[in-house]
């Protein structure tokens, strides 16, 4: 199907990500970023048996959904995805290609951009404009500065967005489902040089904190592993996930996949409750995008209070039981 091109505004192609028929939440965030550009938006997704995923994506206010269905794409491989999306991008001729900055994107998107000889601006946190051209906001120097990066040269330009930079609930839904079209691809034998083995999980209880709506995070103020119980009760009362700052996971009190910060997860839940966390910058960069931050700390000068919306100066061993009691009441 030949795609027309908008006369004035840039057309954005969003590459969504799915696994076993389940869409990655961050793909909605990339769609929100695309909608903010104000021009036509299309979305493409690759895999096998994509019927349900296509229908799900069609609910968004987009021009069309492309499903790139092929048995060789059932399991993700960088070679397979580069080949498939190179064909999609060549055919759709978008001005911009947006992706969520997932692990998968980190692997195949640079190769895809290099294959097409186009720039890739990775891990952006916002969209804007510079001299009437789109520009993308990108943190530099560990978040000390943000730079507006304006791509130059022939289109398309590839851009990926940090998880949590846009809110999936800001997605504009269409009045009617968008048309879903299958994009036929041929994958020549020998294209895929990787052999896919059965997926394995490094951690026993892998948890994806980036998808949590509420997080109760605990830091050194908890003093001992045996005190984690009260944090877990508070999390249960709030329907929240438990997370921690580095020292807690480093001591092995909580698994590493619950660590928030520069060497752990970056999260942006609706509620982030920080208990006994001083707020080292390494932790702040992983949670400062949260909508509401509540901090409990004994030290009134702790840097966590600089980012908190609500702060309680006090001992978490007094404050937490009181919150639990209030929630139970």
């Amino acid at each position: 199907m030949p795609f027309g091109r908008g006369e004035r505004t840039d057309m954005v192609l969003v590459i969504a990500e799915q696994r076993d028929g389940v869409l990655n939440n961050a793909s909605w965030e990339a769609l929100v970023a695309a909608q903010q550009m104000g021009g036509p938006v299309r979305v493409a997704v690759a895999g096998a048996d994509l019927g349900a995923v296509g229908t799900e994506l069609a609910a968004a206010d987009v021009e069309s959904v492309l499903t790139v269905d092929h048995p060789d794409l059932a399991a993700y491989t960088p070679d397979g995805f580069v080949a498939a999306f190179a064909a999609v991008v060549a055919d759709a001729a978008p001005d911009l290609v947006f992706l969520a900055h997932t692990y998968q994107t980190r692997e195949f998107a640079p190769r895809l951009a290099a294959r097409l000889g186009r720039p890739f601006i990775a891990d952006c946190v916002g969209v804007g404009s510079r001299n009437d051209r789109p520009a993308f906001v990108r943190p530099m120097f560990q978040g000390k500065f943000v730079a507006d990066v304006a791509p130059t040269g022939p289109a398309p330009h590839f851009v990926s967005f940090q998880i949590g930079a846009f809110r999936p609930d800001a997605l504009k839904r269409g009045a009617a489902p968008a048309p879903v079209a299958a994009f036929p691809v041929t994958i020549e034998p020998g294209t895929i040089r990787q052999e896919v083995e059965a997926p394995f999980q490094e951690a026993k209880q892998a948890v994806d904190l980036t998808q949590a709506e509420r997080i109760v995070a605990v830091g050194r103020g908890i003093k001992g592993q045996e005190h984690l119980k009260i944090v877990e009760s508070l999390a249960a009362a709030l329907g929240a996930e438990v997370a921690a700052s580095r020292p807690i996971c480093d001591s092995g009190w909580l698994p590493m996949d619950r660590q928030i910060g520069s060497s752990g997860q970056t999260v942006a839940p609706k509620l982030y409750l920080a208990l006994g966390i001083s707020g080292a910058i390494q932790h702040l960069v992983g949670m400062k995008g949260s909508r509401t931050i509540v901090a409990v700390n004994k030290d009134a000068e702790a840097p966590i209070f600089e980012v908190a919306d609500y702060g309680i100066v006090g001992d978490l061993f007094d404050v937490v039981p009181a919150i639990i009691a209030a929630l139970d009441a």
């Binding site: 120097f141 560990q142 000390k144 500065f145 394995f200 490094e202 003093k223 001992g224 580095r246 020292p247 996971c249 480093d250 001591s251 590493m256 660590q259 520069s262 060497s263 752990g264 080292a280 910058i281 390494q282 960069v285 840097p303």
Partner: protein
């Protein structure tokens, strides 16, 4: 376990100025002389070339002139000539400008550079000459045939905290070479093992300093690019050797740093705190007011000079750059000497490979080139200066002056020297008046997170990153000493001399003591702990390749 093997003619371990100069020189020799193709590979532990490079830096371009005379046409990032050169002696509140800049510190003809950018550019030149630069791979073990060095083994990737293979485990690769050039930097882990195994020790033990540096962004009109300021005195006392520097780069970028000899006596002294005090001095605070700190880093430097350089040639191997100690501490410069040593090593290695003889008897050519060239001419006359500073600032200045006046004829023999860590006094010895709080630095300042920072915040701006789930790369042979003897005798000085908050003494949970906690992923690869630990029980080994600081623009 299956291990891959790669064969090259010359392997360079370490992609800094010395290693890359050696690699470029080898490639060019091959082009000039012709003959069989020469396979040259460089191993570099950082993710990208230049990422672990930290220096002031003022570059004496003589090494670059010798290596790539057309460096200007090649677009070397060497663009800011030194235009103004000042020295101050500081007291807590005042400054005294030296009426003349002593000749060793005159920087006419030199350039203020970012070593990170310079080395990244050097790596590009090397790759353009056909050298394979493998970034993200650290050498962890020297390979031998008998006593002859035949290459190195790179580190395993994908081990978990307990050293068990994770899903993506890849064993290290054996890289075999006719000649291996060790350019693994100050206190390099492989050079350390070579010196031990082959007894390469020099006439005097190597002495070191730690350099701590920040990059700031200030209003560009405040100070002209190319301004170079060195300071003596405050925040250091007479018993501490070192000084501060301010180097102004274009566009309002300023490098601020403090170098402190790792032979201080006070066990409660904290070099990072001294650096905070340096920034609080009116001379520095005025320059930085309203600016922003954008980068942080720390690195040890070898200061022992000529007599501390070990034998640098052995069967199948050569040692170059900071790993060997080619640094002129009186001029505060080592990049050019590193480059010259790399060039000499390449010349010796090339001749050896072509002659089919890589024995020490053939590679001794390297020593001859050093002895007859600029390196000895520069280092020999100042061979006793650092040792004299061990006796205090006044004595050091006097010897430095005499050495310069007599062109090095006096003093003639090595002054006595001892490894820096042996000068560290015990708490009881340094504070005879009574028990000193082992947990508070004697030079503590309260940080304001605008001009002064705590170590943890600073570490963030070093960009350092390591996979958390990997074996700890700081091997402490006996952590019992930490909570018992060291706590008592020195008050755990590692907590203070580490500039990156790697070492912490935390409550051991039993309520009656403390235990050592190693935050290995904070490590900025400065090597200070390996050097300064009073019991010499810390071994720094490379973490998984690619981990470490990101000194972009430093």
């Amino acid at each position: 376990m299956e291990r891959e093997t790669l064969e090259v003619d010359v392997l360079v371990v370490g992609g800094g100025p010395a290693g890359l100069s050696a690699a470029i020189r080898l490639a060019r020799l091959q082009q000039q002389e012709g003959g069989d193709p020469l396979a040259v590979a460089v191993l570099e532990k950082s993710r990208q070339s230049g990422s672990h490079m930290l220096s002031g830096a003022v570059l004496d371009p003589s090494g670059l002139d010798a290596l790539l005379p057309d460096w200007k046409e090649r677009g070397a990032p060497v663009e800011t000539p030194v235009r103004d050169d000042r020295i101050y002696y500081l007291t807590a509140k005042s400054r005294f400008r030296a009426p003349i800049t002593p000749p060793p510190l005159r920087n006419h003809g030199n350039y203020v550079i970012s070593l990170n950018r310079f080395v990244r550019w050097l790596a590009e030149q090397a790759e353009a000459e056909g050298v394979d630069v493998f970034t993200g791979f650290a050498g962890t073990e020297v390979l031998y045939e008998g006593d002859r060095v035949v290459g190195v083994r790179t580190g395993d990737r994908g081990l978990d905290k307990e050293g068990r293979p994770k899903g993506a485990f890849e064993p290290g690769v054996d890289i075999r070479a006719a000649v291996t050039i060790f350019a693994d930097g100050v206190r390099g882990n492989l050079t350390k093992s070579l010196v031990r195994r082959h007894g390469l020790d020099a006439a005097a033990p190597q002495t070191y300093a730690i350099g701590i540096k920040e990059l700031w962004q200030i209003p560009p009109e405040r100070e002209a690019p190319g301004t170079v300021v060195h300071t003596l005195g405050y925040p250091l006392r007479h018993e501490e050797f070192g000084g501060g520097f301010i180097y102004v780069l274009p566009e309002g970028r300023v490098a601020i740093g403090l170098v402190v000899g790792l032979d201080y006596r006070d066990p409660r002294f904290d070099p990072h705190m001294a650096f905070q005090r340096f920034k609080q001095h009116p001379l520095v605070a005025g320059l930085l007011a309203g600016g922003e700190m954008t980068r942080y880093g720390a690195k040890a430097l070898p200061e022992g000079g000529w007599y501390a350089i070990p034998r640098c040639h052995l069967d199948g191997a050569l040692i170059v750059g900071d790993a060997a100690g080619f640094l002129n501490s009186m001029r505060l410069k080592g990049i050019h000497l590193a480059m010259h040593s790399g060039i000499h090593a390449a010349d010796a290695a090339f001749a050896a490979v072509r002659a089919g003889d890589v024995s020490a008897a053939q590679l001794v050519r390297y020593r001859e080139l050093i002895n007859h060239g600029g390196i000895r001419r520069e280092l020999y006359p100042v061979r006793n200066v650092h040792q004299a500073f061990g006796a205090g600032l006044a004595a050091g200045t006097a010897v430095a002056g005499l050495a310069w006046l007599t062109n090095g004829r006096w003093p003639a023999r090595p002054l006595s020297s001892e490894p820096g860590h042996e000068r560290l006094a015990s708490l009881a010895g340094y504070y005879p008046g009574g028990p000193a709080d082992p947990d508070t630095p004697s030079n503590a300042v309260k940080v304001d997170r605008a001009l002064t920072f705590d170590k943890l915040t600073n570490v963030h701006y070093s960009g350092t990153r390591h996979d958390e789930d990997q074996p700890v790369h700081l091997l402490v042979r006996d952590t019992d000493i930490c909570r018992t003897r060291c706590r008592e005798e020195y008050g755990n000085p590692c907590v203070r001399f580490c500039p990156a908050n790697v070492y912490e003494m935390v409550d051991d949970g039993t309520g009656n003591g403390r235990r050592l906690q190693i935050n290995a992923s904070n490590c900025v690869h400065c090597k200070t702990c390996d050097i300064m630990d009073p019991y010499q029980i810390i071994d720094w080994v490379p973490p998984e390749g690619g981990g470490g600081p990101e000194y972009e623009g430093m």
